[in-house]
Subunit: 194 residues, 2 copies
DNA sequence: GCCAAGGTACACAGGTCTGTGTAACTAAAA
DNA sequence: TTTTAGTTACACAGACCTGTGTACCTTGGC
């Protein structure tokens, strides 16, 4: 973990492959046989590293729970840049929506642990927006952060079914309107730095 | 179909039960045995009415594709009322997100017909917004309709993971800001008719 | 050389799933 | 009464799933 040159462990390879297949094809659609076959290991080895498929699913979701990198850009640029990043990801052919929302949709309210991590993820994203809005001094950062997160999740859901990266642009424009309405000065209607 | 007093056919009962279980528990999570057992019929009878589970899934999604009732309220009230209706549905304990988004998330891009009907549904909803925005004479009804639909889908996704009907209120407030920004006069910040 | 850790091959238990085949039953229509 | 359409009970095929048991093999460290 410390050294980037460190050889990838077996556990890493299993998790990485499970991550890719679970995300692309769905958690229920992928069996442990498929994962081990894809890596070229025996199913026994997989079970030596993860006690059950449920444990592998939990590891998958935790693995997806990554914090955004710190940035030295201005709060407004960071907020609006979120939607540019979304648009880029929508364009990739291996994008298939939000893994947490998908997992909840797929596994239902049955599995409480899945829902818990999904809620934690969504809340962490909302708080990320909120921190930047506080920095900007807007009146009601909590409310606006929630609304920005609505635009993020809405564009993800829309792109999931429509495969249309323009959804991210529409969300960005809406976000700009909401920011300006909250008294935030936003430079130009489209990409001043371009 | 014409008379509301008409006795419910076997096919209706199957579809209705499949609808409820598919939506609540997930399509992959429910087998045809479960559906037939729930109704108290044999699995053979189910297969006499639907040639395959895939056909039943298709019928389920078509059954969910309902058009909004015509309304005599003003366009603005209709648009904002959408979010009030959402909030009501979020409060129900049998609400589990958008069946079309869930189906795409669950069945993946593999099944093209599922994606097709999901796209058709989302587009029909977007056009519903668009029609009302045209009536209001806004400058760019297509863009704003897309953005309102983003708020709808965003609040649905958020409520799915958080079980928080307040997401609909946040979406409604954002919708009001977007409408006002487009030059639409919106009466009061919260429920003038209350 | 020897040992121990971890991987492999492979069978298998026990469950679920979709879908079919078949013979008997029921009830309404003719 | 006879026919016919729909339903039932039930077994079963064939596939896939999670998870385990077991005996063998490979490899690096001592």
């Amino acid at each position: 973990m410390a050294s980037p040159h460190q050889k990838q462990t077996m556990k890493d390879r299993i998790l990485q492959t499970a991550d890719r297949l679970f995300y692309l094809k769905g958690i229920r659609a992928i069996g442990v046989d498929t994962i081990s076959a894809e890596i070229g290991i025996s199913k026994r080895t997989l079970y030596n590293h993860f006690p059950s498929k449920d444990a592998l699913i939990a590891a998958y979701l935790e693995h997806r729970f990554v914090q955004p990198k710190p940035s030295d850009r201005s709060p407004v640029e960071q907020i609006l840049g979120t939607f540019d990043a979304l648009e880029r990801r929508f364009g990739a052919e291996d994008f298939r929506g939000c893994p947490f929302v998908n997992a909840v949709a797929e596994l239902g309210g049955e599995d409480k642990s899945v829902k818990d991590i999904a809620v934690a993820f969504k809340e962490s994203r909302r708080l990320w927006f909120r921190d930047r809005l506080v920095e900007l001094g807007v009146a009601d950062p909590d409310r606006l952060a929630t609304q920005l997160q609505l635009l993020v999740d809405g564009s993800i859901a829309q792109d999931l079914v429509r495969d249309d990266p323009a959804m991210a642009r529409a969300a960005k424009e809406a976000a700009r309107v909401l920011l300006e309405n909250a008294g935030v000065k936003v430079s130009s209607p489209d990409g001043a730095k371009a």
